[in-house]
Symmetry: C4
Subunit: 370 residues, 4 copies
């Protein structure tokens, strides 16, 4: 990245967000029918690269069906409301009616209920019964404790997801995750993150992960920047980690790790930008939380909003825009980039002249100052 | 353009919008009477370079008279409401009263009526009867289907206009436009676009076009950036395509192709900036939609807002400012750059010290960071 | 200035506004009592460098007394309301009550009354009777016509002020001003502008002017940028023209021309910035229009807002903050930089550690990106 | 810093605010329990580096207990309301109810009461009785007059704090502070500032100060930028002064002067940024003014807001968020970075992978354009 001097004792790279960049069509255009959106990770192929985020406002054992029906992957949060409560329906109903000003305290209370290993097992089993690819996520802090429950229950794809996940966690306690060892022993492919830099991503790739999550996982409502001061704008983070994928492929003699952008993709245009900047797939939260049949019923929150001492996100009221199916595949009746995400990605690639996701990663971009 | 590193795997040029640049007077000033605004394309000379956009809120068989009376060119959209309905008056009346929140769905419904070849013929014939230069536009998708109707009916200037039009469209279907061949066979001059880069424009120039449209044709209300992630800020796009004109003139042994900025010119100052950055003419939409005698009656929408699956624009309520004649030539009674477009361009050139459009393209500009 | 490529056919310098820069204290501080604010032009010395703008909302034959009492210069607009009407009091009263939405049309009507030579003579004579330094302004368009009236009536300082005034105005008519000849023949010192670049300023200095106005004279309410696209941010303009002063002093063998920033100084901090960037004096409008005893009574407009065909400014409602004396010298009871302009400039210089205006022009500045 | 040309006669460095930069996690993460927040100055060690600002809305003889209980330092303003009034309780009650629009005039009136030497003595003695580290501040203008009272009363840490404090104050009067001599003679460690540049800080360090304050001390409500035009964005100022600390340590043969960021840290993320940019400690105002048990009761003002002739700050209504203890150490029930400042700093360091404050100063940062 471009280097500037903040002051005599500190230099900094300039980093860009999705809003700072735009896509530039090439000298070719292409029929939409000729665009191929397939995304492959390990043995699994999906008909598009848009993953539903492991957030309780988006993915429930019920809503996973809609995502699978559209050919995509969704991830159930195994530390969320579905593994804390036998029947979380009353809690979801309460959340849907919370006065926004009281939301943080209420979420802190609702999520103070402990996670139960047997509920993890049961939810995964419910997902298995649907017959689709099953993916569930844990934070690195909980992975050591619950990983066995998850694996025994039989997930297809295991996701370790936190604000920042590193391959080298320094700890005094005994209960800590050795990522490399853990992934090596596991039979299922692992997706791990967030990370935001070339170096952190390269180390995560070396653990044997099938995919890395780029970004701090924060949705439309996270405030990590305000509370911790920590932020790497997504356009630069994705383009940096894409370089780690290339270099790791070289050093590993050909292992291709999926780079998965996670967070800050509120509109369909952001999904296209993420791919064009080098991502293989994207994790989307808020756009799906707007679905009439999403568990959040128009409200959206992440686990970081429920932290007992230091919440780092807010519940936001997004309203509803259409069904999950309409948000994924249209038809759209709004021009703000919140519906028909798959159609919009296809059209962006056709307009810019690219055939598949891998080719689209070469798309030219411009940086716009304002 | 200036090059920056977005991340290790992606570099980007920095691109500027009209808002990012301003004009700098030279050391000379000039009487307004000494400024010549003539614009010439093929055999046609107009007394100013401001073209009315092929949008149903701006150009109708009736409103073309006002534009012609002021010495300028207007383009009828041959895929718009006038070629879908024998008498679109009731639809325009309905649109004028639509609740804004319901506009997209209503436009999708109204524009689902098919385009009729015979209405294309009739509208062009109505225009011919007025005795002025006749210009009509089709999208590249429809050009193969309806071009014969258009040519037979006798347009003077044929416009092929889409979000992105390339000289190399990749397609499996048989019904696709070979631009170079099409233009070669046609007896009338062709204006074609949008495009936004040096390379794309150079290829369009090589098709034999008399003019290229720079920009994605989006008006005040288009959301291509949000929905597709695609955008090239206009100041950079115009200055890039102006270089293609120069280089194409060299490679073709002297063919001069008009560079026509299309979109994002909401105020008269933007028109002046477009010329100063290298445009020969400009296509204006929203400013004319504000006319009391424009078909939109203060509302403004583009065809992209009517797409059945993925609308990429919104109908906007602009209100009215004066008659088409006042918006073109004044007198203005507002200081916001929405009236007396021709007078404002003339004064900008006089203030900066330039005599004609070609000379004004050399005007110095500054980039302003905020 | 820093150079960037807008597009392949156009490069541009980056230019900064007062908002983009801030002053940096040196390693010294200084007692306020040790700061000297004297400004000298030709034979006239003023006890501070803040000039009241030739705008009808600011300077009237009555309000000039307050400015003179505080040791400063004010300029009467000799094309304004005082030379169009024998008694403009009713018009000022009408303007004070205009609904803002109707202001432009009303100002166009009120200012359609012709300027009278004998009223020019009378106003100057009224000013002479007050016993202070008399300054009056004409636009370059009117200077040839009325200059004799002005000179015969006996101004001390003659101001030629327009949006852009060049030393080389190209014209076919006979009634045009040859600036160099005009200034040479005149017995009184001339201040001339606006200009905004090194080259334009250098040519104005070569006409023999005692001072040049930097900026386009637009006040808080001008819209030249929107209407004409013309703008040079003031920080860069002042720093550029200061270099012309230095180079002209060299080429002329020692003639020192005052560089006078004119426009965009809405707060006292902007006045300090203008000096620190190289200005010798500043012309202030809106801050004085907020005075309870200013002719505008809290409303503010410039001549450009009254243009019959193409108004390029708006009347703005500023409200009132205190008397002219309080706005100039305090005490201030607000922290927004609109009162005690002289005290604020003195304190800025003391805080930064500088003794007089000339020394303060060396003050370090930083550019702040947002 | 990066250098740009503002205009031909002026160059400027580009300077960044806390909002312009963000922290980048390293490739390691760390348990929160392994993070050490200790800050040491002279003989005093505090369990965290967050100092309560010498502002009457934040620190009173009563509120100092809460800060000490949490292991931190607070500074009583010895020119504030507690040394002007024997019992300021009625004034604080009046301030808490002032209509915001009348606040400046009321503060000017309340603070026109003179400072009394015997009240300085009494307040310090009250603080001593609490048994914690006692710190009090004077402005450089008052230091000569009241320093003896302060020292005799027995402060542990003496703070000289003004908008800009230089080691070389130029004055004609006799009553001026020779900083170097003053500090040399004093038995207690001195913290002195504000300053904002490498050079100014280096000169302050050479006076023998134990710590320098970086920034102009302005809180959420100061308007020095608008009134004086003076501003150095904090991120650049801190990184510049950190370089002065390093160079002074070299030139002095090992004396380590604390760099203390003072101002513009409205959220916990800003505290983390200040340390990461090179600060050893931070002075926080507005966050504490939000405490239910702060003297301001949700309102916040600095001494600069009380200046009789040229107020340079405003009283702001912040509202209340929790107790001082909750704001310092949580638990937080809001996600906006205003509560649990210590927990947030600890988590930022753990997330980024750093162990103590000194190590955290090496944290990578990025500059974000928007």
């Amino acid at each position: 990245m471009t280097d500037v001097e903040v002051g005599r004792a500190k230099r900094a790279r300039v980093a860009y967000s999705f809003d700072d960049v735009s896509l530039v069509p090439s000298r070719r255009t292409r029929d939409m029918e000729l665009v191929n959106l397939n995304w492959k990770i390990d043995a699994y192929t999906f008909s598009h690269p848009i993953i539903a985020a492991p957030m309780d406002s988006v993915v429930s054992p019920e809503s996973t069906k809609s995502f699978a029906a559209a050919g995509g992957l969704s991830i159930l949060n195994l530390e969320g409301i579905w593994t804390r409560y036998e029947d979380p329906t009353p809690m979801l109903a309460e959340i849907a009616k919370l006065p926004i000003a009281e939301a943080t305290r209420a979420l802190q209370r609702i999520y103070s209920e402990p996670i139960k290993g047997e509920l993890i097992t049961r939810r995964i089993s419910e997902l298995r019964d649907q017959g689709y690819t099953v993916a569930g996520s844990l934070s690195p802090q909980r992975t050591a404790q619950f990983a066995q429950d998850v694996v025994k229950a039989g997930v297809d794809i295991f996701v370790i997801r936190g604000t920042t996940v590193s391959a080298e966690h320094v700890s005094e306690g005994g209960d800590v995750l050795n990522l490399k060892e853990f992934i090596y022993k596991l039979d299922v492919p692992v997706i791990v993150g967030g990370c935001a830099t070339y170096t952190a991503a390269l180390h995560l790739m070396r653990t044997g992960a099938a995919g890395v999550l780029v970004g701090f996982g924060g949705g439309a409502a996270h405030t990590t920047r305000d509370v911790l001061g920590v932020r790497v704008p997504m356009a630069s983070a994705v383009a940096d980690v894409a370089a780690a994928r290339r270099d790791y492929m070289d050093e590993s003699g050909g292992r291709y790790v999926s780079v998965i952008a996670d967070g800050s993709m509120g509109r369909s245009g952001d999904v296209a930008k993420a791919i064009a900047l080098g991502a293989d797939a994207v994790v989307v939260g808020s756009a799906f939380a707007r679905a009439t049949d999403a568990p959040g019923q128009g409200r959206h929150w992440g686990l970081e909003a429920t932290h007992p001492d230091l919440p780092r996100g807010e519940m936001v009221e997004l309203g509803t825009a259409g069904t999950l199916s309409e948000i994924l595949s249209g038809p759209s009746h709004t021009a703000d980039g919140t519906m028909n995400l798959i159609g919009a990605l296809r059209r962006a690639m056709a307009t810019c002249g690219y055939q598949d996701l891998k080719e689209f990663q070469r798309c030219e971009v411009v940086v716009t100052p304002n």
